[in-house]
């Protein structure tokens, strides 16, 4: 009876399939539910601050006037971190994946991964107690020699606890993330493409420009975005390093503030509308992160045809 033997199926195998697909579906739904829950919490808790009359909000000029300086501060700190960290991280990743002898490469990779495991409060303490002091002479020099640029306008902070210091500390913190991911991506460049470049008479650096970097481009964008996510949301390090204040263009004076540090510093003593205001600030940070990730997706998808995934 061929028909019955075809319609009969192995009971156990099918059950395993169902359990697995059920578990995968549940995990997927759970992630969405958690994300939605967080968003809902932020929106509901933030509404009082968003609809309150302007004079009741801290600063007395409404939520928008309160939030925009610290949004700018957050973005400035994150941009400083990425501008410093991205080239260094890609350079280190390339060194590990394509230049260093094997023994050195694995040792270096291990050290970089270890950097990612250091708690942020340690980075903050290091930034506040050591880096800020050591770097303030450099700020004096910048103020004296490049002071005509608004971002280096003097007088430089005597303590060195500025947004630039915070950005540098953030750069050190996001460096291992970008490095580790980029290294993995560079190592995955198909040997075929590297050999194609070399066989055309490319030097090692030309081979990297021709085969490794274009192939790794979407991965590099993702790595930078993960680093950016950490830089935007980093709280402890900024709270410890930055001597905060009003929004200022100069990066080497004390002043500026980031959303995450603002929330951390004020939340313990906050009550009533102040809590709502801080949660609304958190909502803004959430939206910024979401926007950044969407832009990153868009950048990656723009070059899909040439990604090498086909």
């Amino acid at each position: 009876m061929t028909t019955t033997s075809l319609t009969k199926s192995r009971g156990a195998g099918r059950a395993g399939d169902k359990v697995f697909s059920g578990a995968a579906l549940a995990a997927g739904c759970l992630i969405l539910a958690v994300l939605f829950g967080v968003a809902l919490f932020l929106v509901v808790q933030a509404i009082p601050a968003l609809v309150a009359s302007p004079d009741k909000i801290q600063g007395g000029e409404g939520f928008f006037a309160y939030i925009w300086p610290i949004v700018i501060g957050t973005v400035i700190a994150a941009i400083i971190a990425l501008v410093i960290a991205t080239p260094v991280a890609i350079g280190v990743a390339l060194f590990i994946s394509h230049f260093a002898p094997r023994g050195l490469a694995s040792g270096l990779g291990y050290v970089i991964d270890l950097l990612a495991a250091i708690p942020s409060v340690v980075y903050g303490a290091w930034g506040a107690a050591f880096l800020a002091k050591e770097i303030s002479p450099a700020y004096d020099w910048l103020a004296n020699n490049m002071g005509w640029l608004p971002i280096f306008q003097g007088p430089a902070s005597a303590t060195g606890k500025t947004i630039l210091t915070a950005g540098i500390v953030l750069a050190v913190m996001v460096l291992p993330i970008i490095t580790s991911l980029s290294r993995e991506i560079f190592l995955q460049t198909p040997k075929l493409h590297e050999e194609a470049a070399l066989a055309l008479g490319a030097t090692r650096w030309e081979m990297i420009k021709m085969a490794v970097l274009p192939f790794g481009r979407p991965g590099i964008v993702s790595a930078v975005m993960l680093g950016l996510g950490r830089a935007l949301g980093e709280t402890m390090a900024v709270a410890l390093v930055l001597s905060s204040g009003a929004l200022t263009a100069s990066l080497i004076q004390s002043g500026n503030q980031t959303i995450a540090a603002e929330i951390a510093l004020n939340f313990p003593e906050a009550s009533g509308l102040k809590v709502s205001t801080l949660i609304a600030a958190g909502l803004v940070l959430f939206v910024i992160t979401l926007g950044v990730n969407m832009i990153a997706r868009w950048i990656i998808s723009r070059h899909k045809e040439f990604s090498g995934a086909n």
Partner: protein, 259 residues
């Protein structure tokens, strides 16, 4: 613009392991030379030493001389990058750069070697190279599309166009048809026939009929057993190798009575 290659007493090592032993062979200019032999006999390894591509593998090194019209590729001060721009290579699996358009793939090597060329020159070179690879008519309307969108046979011809765009002296082909269907294979074989008017071509192949069809001279490599080095057993006119070889091993291999 094609040069001959003379190999003298060449040994190839991977670390301490002797992979290919004592090869002496003369490869004539403007001709097709085929390397045949069983898997693992070192013919691909040997091919890679002809443009120093074996150096990509850590620990690989050679002893002996490879002379390109008398100039030793392994002489002191010789840059492997220069060697490879003179001796091009086509690989087993088609490997156009997936992140580049068809046009940029053809120009990839040229942009390395003489940095700046005008758009007009570039257009002419792209057309000439793709014509030379018998691919122009199939892709002329989609030069800006990614090279990875072509069929396997077209991709391989794109790789050949990329190799000839830099006007090398010699083109090495490492089993260029092993990943292709019979029709694409035929297209590549026709192309090899055209290429020998201008270039010295060396091809490694598993397919004896292919060696018989495309080559002027054939070299037979063999290996005594696992762990033993590969050796060049016999080299001669393709017709002689297939009909009247001097070595018993060659005769067994080409007649299919092997192993």
């Amino acid at each position: 613009m094609s040069k001959r290659i003379d190999v003298k007493d060449l040994n190839v090592y991977y670390g301490k392991f002797l992979a290919v032993e004592d090869v002496n062979i003369n490869i004539e200019a403007k001709s097709v030379t085929a390397f045949i032999g069983p898997s693992g006999c070192g013919k691909s390894t040997f091919l890679r030493t002809l443009n120093r591509m074996h150096e990509v593998i850590p620990g690989a090194r050679v002893e002996g001389e490879v002379l390109l019209d008398g100039d030793n590729l392994y002489g002191p001060g010789v840059d492997p990058v220069t060697v490879r721009s003179q001796i091009g290579m086509v690989f087993q699996r088609p490997n156009p750069f997936p992140t580049m358009s068809i046009r940029d793939n053809v120009l990839a090597g040229v942009k390395l070697n003489n940095q700046k060329i005008s758009k007009g020159e570039a257009d002419a070179l792209v057309e000439r190279s793709l014509q030379g690879a018998n691919l122009w008519n199939e892709v002329k309307d989609r030069l800006a599309k990614p090279g990875s969108g072509l069929s396997g046979g077209q991709q391989q011809r794109l790789c050949i166009a990329r190799a000839i765009a830099v006007e090398p002296q010699v083109i090495l082909m490492d089993e260029p048809c092993s990943a292709l269907d019979p029709i694409s294979t035929l297209a590549i074989e026709d192309l090899i026939n055209d290429l020998k008017d201008q270039y010295t071509v060396v091809i490694v192949t598993h397919n004896m009929q292919q060696a018989a069809r495309v080559s002027d001279r054939t070299a037979f490599f063999n290996i005594a057993g696992t762990g033993k080095p590969g050796k060049l057993i016999e080299v001669g006119d393709t017709h002689t190798i297939f009909s009247n070889p001097t070595q018993k091993a060659t005769e067994d291999y080409v007649s299919g009575r092997f192993g």
